[in-house]
Point group: C2
Chain length 240, copies 2
């Protein structure tokens, strides 16, 4: 049985301009792999209404789950919630439970819940809130789309609270072998091995170390026995 | 006049599984910003023929330039060249000039140019080669798509040789100000400032330092005079 599939949508001009180096993609990729959900595609788009709406529709229709990162803060360029609502033709407005979370948080902080901050309580109709243990303002899940913050610590906390609610498949297992030969010498035998094991995926990643060429061969799959067998063959093909 | 637009396509299972942390996106984002080309979208797809072909077609049709990274090595999972050819309905085969480059390189290295390595000379009909000063195997440009290696050092060298051949617009300028107030207090005045300067883009990025909340406000645009004026107003709104 194949695993559920997922896509990620990263939203933010700051990633595309190079100002900020995205860290959430790598975090989510690792978390999904452990959970048995296959991340199949990532898109990064700018803070542009049409770009967000179009990407949400395309990814939501193409994969079992979509995880978004960024654009849910209080400023004018935080337009993710509105455009996720638009993608599903849902109304959006300040919701009482989200407002109550913010009121309690800012009261503790002795900070005014002004109009800008209240924007963070705008939730599309029918969505479920995602807890934000760090700065209170919630994310939300609507249909198969999970809308989360871009700040890495908050994104990670939200992933940790959403993932246990999703059914995963068999976790993807992987083993690897460093072969101290050029990738071009590894390629032929590796192709034959891959053809013998259609249930596994074989990757080869070249490196250069102390002037010598090598390749790290990574074998991935869900069947531990088949993985062990393939690794034994690999070790025979490329002895230490 | 608006700048040329670009998209990036990162190809590789190893990014989506979390095994490898992509570094090329950030490098390209910075290089394009300096060159005056607007990076509008990035997609990451797996080593899957249909996913690659579909993404190349969509991005090539939607943007002035497309830069791809990954999948042009000698192993069975390196299928980028074939699927870029397929996206443009072009034949692909070993090309004499690419073969000559590989022959010379492997002769210097006293290494056999075997069948696997020769795959790296497969070039779609009508493409222009991109020089690879590190490991010889060339990238190529076809239509508006520039196909480059995934290994960061080679990717960066290829970007450096392609970019000077592309017409850039006015480089995007940026200035920033750290405001030691919560982002929710910055949001209102910032929105008004953004409305007064439609030619500039205003971003706000929250941070927490020594227990205090703050926001880095980044203003970007192509007109140095307007940028200076907006920064002066920003400094008046949020005095040090």
């Amino acid at each position: 049985m194949s695993n559920p599939t997922a896509a990620m949508l990263v939203i933010g001009d700051e990633i595309l301009s190079g100002r900020t180096r995205d860290a959430n993609m790598h975090h989510l990729a690792c978390a999904l792999t452990r959970h048995g959900i296959d991340l199949r595609e990532v898109r990064v788009v700018s803070d542009d209404a049409d770009a967000i709406t179009k990407a949400v529709r395309a990814l939501s229709g193409g994969f079992d789950h979509v995880f978004t990162s960024g654009g849910i803060g209080p400023t004018h360029d935080d337009i993710t919630a509105d455009n996720v609502a638009r993608a599903f033709d849902r109304p959006i407005g300040v919701r009482d439970d989200a407002r109550a979370i913010l009121e309690a948080h800012y009261e503790r902080q002795k900070t005014e819940l002004n109009e800008a901050r209240l924007r963070m309580a705008r939730i599309p109709e029918g969505a479920t809130l995602i807890d934000n243990p760090i700065s209170a303002a919630p994310g939300f899940s609507i249909e198969n789309v999970h809308v989360m913050a871009g700040v890495p610590a908050i994104f990670e906390a939200m992933v940790a609270s959403v993932l246990p609610t999703l059914t995963g498949g068999a976790p993807m297992l992987s083993q690897s072998l460093e072969v101290f030969r050029g990738e071009g010498d590894v390629a032929g035998p590796l192709r034959e091995l891959a053809e013998k094991h259609p249930g596994l995926s074989f990757g080869s990643y070249p490196f250069q170390r102390n002037g010598a060429f090598g390749a790290q061969v990574v074998v991935r799959g869900q069947d531990a026995g088949e993985l062990d067998a393939a690794m034994a063959e690999l070790n025979r093909l490329f002895p230490g």
